[in-house]
């Protein structure tokens, strides 16, 4: 099964073509550049370099969020349209699980992304028999609270995030020796991991059903609900 995979949920842009557990090609940049301009050329270039056309693919998979609203939408809309137009099955995996997949060992893994105003998108994962299992659902939390919750658990944990350096001080203050640091190069999402994660789940029943996992209401919606007691 040859799968085209896409992750644009953070500043990293990553696309890959994976055949079962063999990565045929992967292209990742970590630049503050526009995903909308660069994603389609990246997909075209990667397929060309791998001597593949869309007809050679068996599925498309995408990191469906959480993350940057715009980034997630660009990746998901591109993957969704490709799958729809080419008649291919579509898989959506958690963007946080893609980060978690970079960790090694059997300890707890807490991937996160900065969600502004002291908040993070985060969750809790662990590898069991080579499979990434979810221990706590993806959620949006005050990073401070979340780290204290991890500390209270008393179990060593690895934190993975493209925003790691910005949060490093708070992490070491709160977790101290409970933190098992990741390698510096493991903080970037890699689209090749999406294939492994997608293989563990079902594709969307209908490609039309694919929507981003924002984990947060649009601000206007949240305010409206607050004002109307909902």
């Amino acid at each position: 099964m040859i799968m085209l995979t896409i992750d644009t949920s953070t500043f990293a842009l990553s696309v890959a073509v994976v055949d079962h557990d063999r990565t045929i090609g992967e292209w990742t940049t970590h630049l503050k550049k526009n995903h909308s301009i660069r994603l389609m050329p990246a997909v075209r270039m990667l397929l060309e370099e791998c001597d593949l056309s869309l007809q050679d693919l068996d599925a498309v998979a995408v990191a469906k969020g959480p993350g940057s609203y715009t980034g997630v939408r660009i990746g998901l809309m591109t993957a969704k349209s490709l799958a729809w137009a080419a008649g291919l099955p579509l898989y959506g995996v958690s963007s946080l699980s893609v980060l978690a997949a970079n960790a090694r060992g059997s300890q707890l893994i807490s991937p996160f992304m900065d969600a502004r105003r002291g908040q993070v998108f985060t969750g809790l994962y662990r590898f069991e028999n080579g499979k990434l299992m979810q221990e706590k659902p993806d959620q949006i939390r005050m990073h401070d609270d979340w780290l204290h919750e991890l500390a209270a658990g008393g179990e060593p944990v690895t934190l993975i995030s493209p925003d790691y350096s910005k949060h490093q001080e708070l992490i070491s203050q709160t977790l101290g020796e409970l933190e098992l640091p990741a390698h510096a190069q493991d903080h970037l999402p890699r689209a090749s991991s999406i294939a492994m994660l997608a293989a563990e789940q079902n594709p969307y029943k209908n490609v039309h059903d694919a929507v981003p996992e924002y984990l947060r209401l649009a601000e206007a919606e949240a305010k409206w609900r607050e004002a109307h007691g909902k």
Partner: protein
């Protein structure tokens, strides 16, 4: 010869639209999924919510457009999409969907200016003849465009502050009419008289630019002053007086542009082209000056993808394609 069939996509604001257009002039299908209901409670379009809706329904709308047209992807010769202007997040949904579809089907991609689309909506009603003047009036635009020939646009005037549709919505809110206010003001205006003497803002004598913020303030002040005196002016008279002032300026500048550019064809485009006061005044003026006027039916005045296909076909015909780097450009210039 086999006709050219284009799929067109439009997501610049709060309508998710797709259409199939044959040879730039025949509508094979035109699907519009409106989000108006979900923005109503906010009193205006919320960009993030618009973007979220677009992602939800984009592929469904494209599929429906193909089905209603009775075409399969193999029949398509290209994909057109609005690249701007508009809400950036909303534009990005359509642009990325279009890029992916064009790539998957291996057909050319054509980025289209939203205003060019509005102007070419007229081509779907009656073939355009050049040179012409186009008056584009909507919630986001008030522009006068001179077109010496097919696909060539010269913007000769634009609003310096509020778009005329925006002014309509604000006036509607001030007198307590529901969102979107434009059509309500139009309806109410028919029942009132132009008795309040609101200003006609004409700017410099030779300018084709517009300004509606002064008019809007005059309406708000009049109402405010009356209410302070414990009076409530007739709503219908406010609507009629506002509409008369707005329409006067629009018609006067448009007809001056027609005369000074020596054109005999005038087209109107954009959501406010549905306004009955404007339609009537323009029709009368055009008749008097012996100018041929087209105003599209309502379904082609408001945002739709058929118009994007019609405008895109002009570029398709001369091979003016976009590449994979096409982006959503909120402030895209008409060129």
């Amino acid at each position: 010869m086999k006709p050219n069939v284009l799929l067109a996509i439009e997501t610049s604001c709060d309508e998710t639209a797709a259409a199939v257009i044959e040879d730039g002039k025949t509508i094979r299908s035109s699907v519009v999924a409106s989000q108006m209901e979900s923005h109503k409670r906010f009193g205006g379009v919320v960009p993030e919510i618009a973007s979220r809706h677009h992602v939800e329904v984009m592929t469904i709308v494209m599929e429906q457009a193909l089905e209603e047209a009775g075409v399969t992807p193999e029949d398509l010769d290209g994909v057109c999409v609005t690249e701007g202007p508009g809400l950036v997040g909303a534009l990005l949904v359509g642009v990325n969907a279009a890029k992916a579809a064009a790539f998957a089907w291996d057909v050319p991609l054509i980025g289209v200016h939203h205003i060019a689309g509005h102007i070419y909506a007229n081509h779907l009603v009656e073939p355009l003849e050049f040179p012409l003047i186009a008056l584009v009036v909507s919630g986001g635009h008030t522009e006068l465009v001179y077109m010496p020939e097919d696909g060539v646009y010269e913007k000769i005037g634009e609003t310096r502050d509020d778009a005329v549709g925006e002014a309509y919505d604000k006036v509607a809110r001030t007198i307590g009419l529901p969102y979107p206010g434009g059509p309500h003001v139009d309806k109410l205006a028919a029942e009132g008289t132009d008795s309040l003497g609101f200003p006609r803002v004409r700017l410099e004598a030779d300018s084709y630019d517009f300004s509606f913020s002064g008019l809007k303030s005059a309406v708000i002040n009049t109402l405010h002053n009356a209410r302070q005196k414990g009076e409530e002016p007739e709503q219908a008279d406010i609507a009629a007086s506002f509409q008369a002032a707005a329409v006067d300026v629009l018609v006067e500048k448009t007809m001056r542009a027609v005369k000074e550019h020596g054109v005999s064809r005038l087209v109107v485009a954009g959501g406010v082209a549905a306004n009955s006061g404007l339609r009537q005044a323009l029709t009368e003026a055009a008749e008097k000056e012996d100018v041929q006027l087209t105003i599209p039916p309502l379904s082609l005045c408001t945002d739709n993808a058929a118009m994007i296909g019609a405008a895109g076909y002009v570029r398709f015909r001369i091979g003016q394609f976009s590449d994979d780097r096409l982006n959503g450009v909120p402030g895209l210039e008409l060129r």
